[in-house]
Symmetry: C2
Subunit: 307 residues, 2 copies
């Protein structure tokens, strides 16, 4: 079934120990869309500027992404520059030019009205809430956020969280959101804020999903998907968004939504994140096959599988 | 089969957000011995001072640990003081008093000569090498080290590593030892230094075992054991040593040594580490049952098990 993602499309300038690239196609919604496209039909709502060409759009269209929701505004596309020269786990931002993204007001094409799955990528929580209210018929909503909104717009974010079924954030963000240093206690607290499940992304160590009691089935314990150690991380940009695309895309491709589906989705999220970092930008995500994805899924599974 | 551990016995003064304790029984060899005692017969070689009483020794003897290798020297036992007030993942050392440990020369009782498994806890690599040479008939040697020896005595450590079958260190140490920031490449390099297997401890994220090609069986990939998020980490002291005790103790309890045994051992290591941190010092390790251990093993297994 189809999934709608609302978020940023950007041009990134990135420096890592493996090299430097300028103004390549990026943005959370781009990574998410490409990763999810291997599992299900993807619809995209975003804003771009006059510098976004048909060639850029073709990257998405070639993967079947429905781009009718991409609004073209006067001016330049959102641009971000960052480097990972000292630490591959955390970007140092060099510059952020919001450009057309500053006044982004998501507009959902009427053709998207029947979408069953929704992902609210990392944008202002007020916009997330508006989109979620408009898409009131969806079966499942996933969402992302970041420290900037957790600290800057906590009340707006609290409203969004009430409408999100599965929140996907990292260790630092869950602890900040809950104001609690212990991951398990922080996760329990976040699960009282709205979401029925919380996916905590641990970067190179994989991810853990925590369930609100009784949500998506029975069980006392969280579930953890590991990540394979990778020989060469060329560019960590978009790993978390690719994780989200694999996770949500797999769920949307399944008939039922239960804990077993969410567990396998957690593995597929890790798989897509691990591909994303192997090349700069979206290069690796553009050139995958479902067979490669499933082969790595098996490796991830064997990574922790006891006879 | 029995296992001999050579390492420190200490009195620790520890402050964490959960409280403060003074001069409680600790030291790497103590945590290791108690954790391993649930799996196999443990023999201990260490040095203590006149302040080490029969009550302290009883903690070990009550778990069947053979304490004939504990040498009593004039003076005080090794003392360490540290705090985890800001960060439960890393201790800030307040003081280190080596005392009798400064002149420690491990003496192996002749009754220990038939020991089949050896663990060289974190002591001067020259002492580790001497013990390993003396125990030349062992089936498997595990070893630990730390940044202090990696940077301070690299040549001595290189000699030790040639004699160690399984090295157990953490992420930071493996990267420092290999002078390489990428974990996978660092691990491959360490596996050229002597060990046939390398266990990298990731703290709250579990541990990964890397195998030299062809060692302990066939397979291309490493194996990762996750760790359950714990609600209250009271005192992280000794978690890594308890991990080592569970890991090595389980291996020593098995007839064969192959990859499946080492994988299960990795889970048991994580289980023992997770118990250790639930109480101050060795309290939790003193009061366990094998049933509790196996129940948590099952939880760890289910934590990443896909149907």
């Amino acid at each position: 079934m189809s999934i709608l993602v609302v978020g940023s499309v950007a041009f990134d300038t990135i420096a890592t120990p493996s090299g430097r690239v300028e103004n390549i196609l990026g943005g959370a919604a781009t990574y998410f869309s490409l990763a999810a496209s291997y599992f299900t039909e993807v619809r995209l709502v975003a804003v771009v500027g006059e510098d976004f060409t048909g060639l850029h759009e073709a990257v998405l269209k070639d993967h079947g992404v429905d781009t009718r929701g991409i609004e073209r505004a006067e001016g330049k596309t959102f641009r971000w520059g960052g480097q990972y020269l000292d630490n591959l786990n955390e970007a140092k931002t060099d510059f952020t030019e919001l450009n057309v993204f500053e006044k982004f007001q998501p507009r959902i094409p009427k053709e998207y009205a029947d979408t069953q799955f929704l992902f609210l990528a990392n944008i202002h929580p007020t916009l997330q809430t508006a989109v979620r209210r408009e898409m009131n018929g969806v079966r499942l909503t996933g969402g992302d956020t970041m420290n900037f909104w957790i600290q800057g717009t906590p009340q707006e974010l609290a409203e969004t969280l009430k409408l999100v079924n599965v929140l996907l954030i990292n260790d630092t963000e869950v602890k900040m959101l809950a104001d609690e240093k212990n991951l398990l206690r922080a996760s329990r607290k976040v699960l009282t804020m709205g979401p029925q499940a919380l996916v905590v992304k641990h970067g190179e160590y994989g991810a853990t999903i925590f369930f609100r009691e009784g949500a998506f089935g029975i069980g006392k314990h969280p579930f953890r998907a590991p990540a394979l150690p990778i020989e060469e991380v060329k560019d960590p940009t978009g790993a978390g968004d690719s994780f989200g695309g694999g996770f949500m895309g797999y769920i949307a491709s399944q008939g039922e939504i239960n804990r077993e589906v969410l567990k396998r989705a957690l593995f597929y999220g890790g798989v897509m994140g691990s591909f994303a970092v192997e090349r700069f930008g979206t290069e690796r995500l553009q050139n995958l096959t479902r067979e490669e994805i499933d082969a790595r899924f098996q490796i991830f599974r064997e990574l922790t599988h006891l006879e």
